[in-house]
Symmetry: C3
Subunit: 329 residues, 3 copies
């Protein structure tokens, strides 16, 4: 059973070769990777490793969270993150309820806090929140008893995406320490970038961010990353290329000159990779704009671990659901 394995894991040497010093998960919530220690991140990654095996069984289900109620409360549309969490919850045997902003009484003018207080009154164990306002999950975490998992708050953080990226890199490379990771694209608007940077830096990786100046946040260097507008420089020597999705809508706001120019400068194709390391990983949080961020031959090529990221997303989310609910009792 995954649960007992995990509890044991927490008390001895990590199977990933990292000393855990008997770290025990104590947090009610998962709000962002900025708040977590390296030990806590390592603990989640270890737990995810145990849970990954569940999804490959004939019977993909463990009774770990039977009788727990998990609500996903999404104020922004999402398919992949919502479904990934829902499958994670179901494979842990939890009961799940999905609320999207369209169908929510939020339409009737109720405040986020009122909505959340009502959900809490229903004896819910976990609320998975996606909201366009940075800090919305932090606000709820303070006023609610149930665990809050941030599934994306504006351009701030998307911690489970960051964790699944870390998990995927570590699974492939064995470690995160001293790896060179380049993140390419619209850094300014990307919660995926922020969670990756926080997580990677804590785990000892070197991070470079690369994109158009108009999409590069002012003062990003203070997060401890290298900044460049030169894709070739970001590729050279990199162990991992994490390529962000470009929002074509940015063009209207004058932040992108043209898609054609973006492709010329930052689009990844086989030619641009000629100086890349042979075993460099290509990652993307999806959904891919094929032919924009990545050409199909690169997206589907031997270096791509994009679909493995999807598979690992479920394992990481199972681990997080397990830890935040267990951490409370």
């Amino acid at each position: 059973m995954a649960t007992t394995t995990l509890l044991n894991t927490q008390k001895k040497e990590s199977r990933w070769g990292m000393t855990k010093k008997n770290v025990i998960w104590k947090r009610k919530d998962l709000l962002g990777l900025e708040d977590l220690s390296a030990d806590e991140i390592a603990l989640i990654l270890d737990a995810a490793k145990s849970f990954k095996e569940v999804s490959t069984r004939k019977v993909k289900k463990v009774p770990t969270l039977r009788g727990k109620t998990i609500v996903s409360l999404f104020f922004e549309p999402s398919t992949r993150t919502r479904i990934s969490f829902e499958l994670a919850a179901k494979r842990l045997s939890a009961d799940t309820i999905g609320i999207t902003a369209n169908s929510s009484s939020v339409l009737k003018g109720e405040t986020l806090k009122d909505t959340a207080k009502n959900i809490e009154a229903m004896n819910v164990d976990v609320v998975i929140l996606r909201h366009s306002t940075p800090g919305a999950p932090h606000l709820l975490a303070k006023v609610l008893g149930p665990s809050i998992i941030n599934a994306g708050d504006g351009a701030h953080e998307h911690p489970t995406q960051g964790l699944l990226d870390l998990f995927t890199i570590k699974e492939k490379k064995g470690t995160l320490k001293n790896l060179k990771v380049s993140i390419i694209g619209d850094i300014a608007h990307s919660r995926v970038a922020r969670s990756n940077i926080w997580g990677l830096k804590k785990m000892g990786a070197d991070v470079t961010v690369c994109g158009p100046s108009t999409l590069m946040p002012v003062g990003i260097e203070r997060m401890g990353v290298k900044v460049t507008n030169d894709l070739d420089q970001a590729i050279e020597g990199a162990d991992v290329l994490n390529v962000l999705r470009i929002q074509v809508e940015r063009q209207k706001k004058g932040l992108l000159p043209s898609i054609r120019e973006y492709i010329n400068l930052f689009g990844i194709n086989r030619q641009r990779l000629k100086n890349a390391k042979d075993d460099m990983l290509i990652m993307h949080p999806g959904p891919i704009n094929r032919g924009v961020e990545l050409t199909p031959d690169v997206a589907d090529g031997p270096c791509s671990v994009i679909l493995e990221q999807v598979a690992n997303g479920i394992a990481v989310r199972m681990a997080v659901l397990f830890l935040v609910t267990g951490g409370k009792e």
Copy 2:
């Protein structure tokens, strides 16, 4: 196990201090509180008391309705009622399917009866119906084998809301008999008001309704309630203030002079409560228009049992689902 406890409860003295004369639930449907006897209402409230405990367990789930199929068929948008029923069903281990008017083939011009007959053909046990036409659930109950639960039919009845209000009052006050309950707001358009009035009168409470004349139905006195336009009079001596949600849309139809005037005359704030009983309960079916029906300090104050209403909603709905399915075999 809640089930056996309940069955025993039905055969002896009620724990709520009311003689039950061995009342056994015999109805296939729950259509409204107008139809129910005081004994039947007391039976539901007793069953709800047993089920309330389930939602506070670590494993919030009993196998009572395993293998039963419960369909919620909502022709009007709703989040809280739909989710409350869905959680109630899941905590009883039933399988649930949700159909909303948007996604329903009703869009293709099918009649309500055809939709319902098709659902029946799928060997469904319970249909939870919300519909804008008063009497729609009564029509279905006549032609369908499965149990019908009315989750709101126009301005007619919303019996599970009425029951959860009764449950909450009785839990706090010990009895409903001779309590003074004032219902404030748009009485004319409120199914919540009607179900409360039927239920409270049957259980021996004194009911006063209070609101603008334009939102007071003609002949409401015939339901056995006192009528007033004076909020202070409705508050004085009341044990419970059940404050209805005001639909801002009514203003367009000329039924409300202005929101500002409504607030002046019928909005509840601390000042208006200066002559209220110290232990008067403040209730609201939600979602609250904060600053309109209730100021935040009142909505969140020590007299407010609004969030307890939400919690009790699940217990009452578990009881109703249990009784209507068990009543059939």
Copy 3:
């Protein structure tokens, strides 16, 4: 237990009186009835017979697909087919996830193949696909490991509807061989018609198609059916009348002269049935345009098996889910 019964069934004489020659289901997918042999169709119908009983039990649930993940991916709106599959899956104890085009990241410009590859990466066992493009499920079946079930691809096939129609006829008539089945209406745009024709012809039935010339596909005779524009001719001697839904929208495109004229020529009422066999079955895939394809007295009359089709839909879909998942291991 349904499962063991089924396995035995496959190795001996069919209870339906047809020699199965130890047919074992070997297909990963169910894409259409055109591909299936008569033996394979008979195997599904036999399995459905076993599963039909499950939906009449007090506990309508078997553990057959516990821990399997079934995703319905619907790019066209549907209530009845989606719910029928969802109930089938739940009664087999599978975990289900529903994705509709509205909420899907397909909106963000992702290709169908990308969406499907992402779903596959989540270790899903079955994808139930409805798509407006003929052949979409065939495309996915080639590139995906999970089983694909076609829930309707444009005007091409809707195999589970065809199978439930065959099941219903066979249950009522004992056999499909040499039965006279007339399909009435918009043959050109009907995937239901196509799946019925393929299935019925393979099982030895005589098929006549009848409808306006503008709604009759060119070369339909090559499918081995008789073609007529004369409803009386289609009715006379028929054992089954399968009446298709007419899309009122066709009128705008000039394919239908007027609804009134369609009713005059092809609408079924009691008068039109005066020369019909006494035991002729009336079928309709639903939802019915009452007063157009069928008058209410016919739709609800003694010959109508329309609601039995709905009930049988769940049994057939349970059988298909069981076979495609079992066929893989």
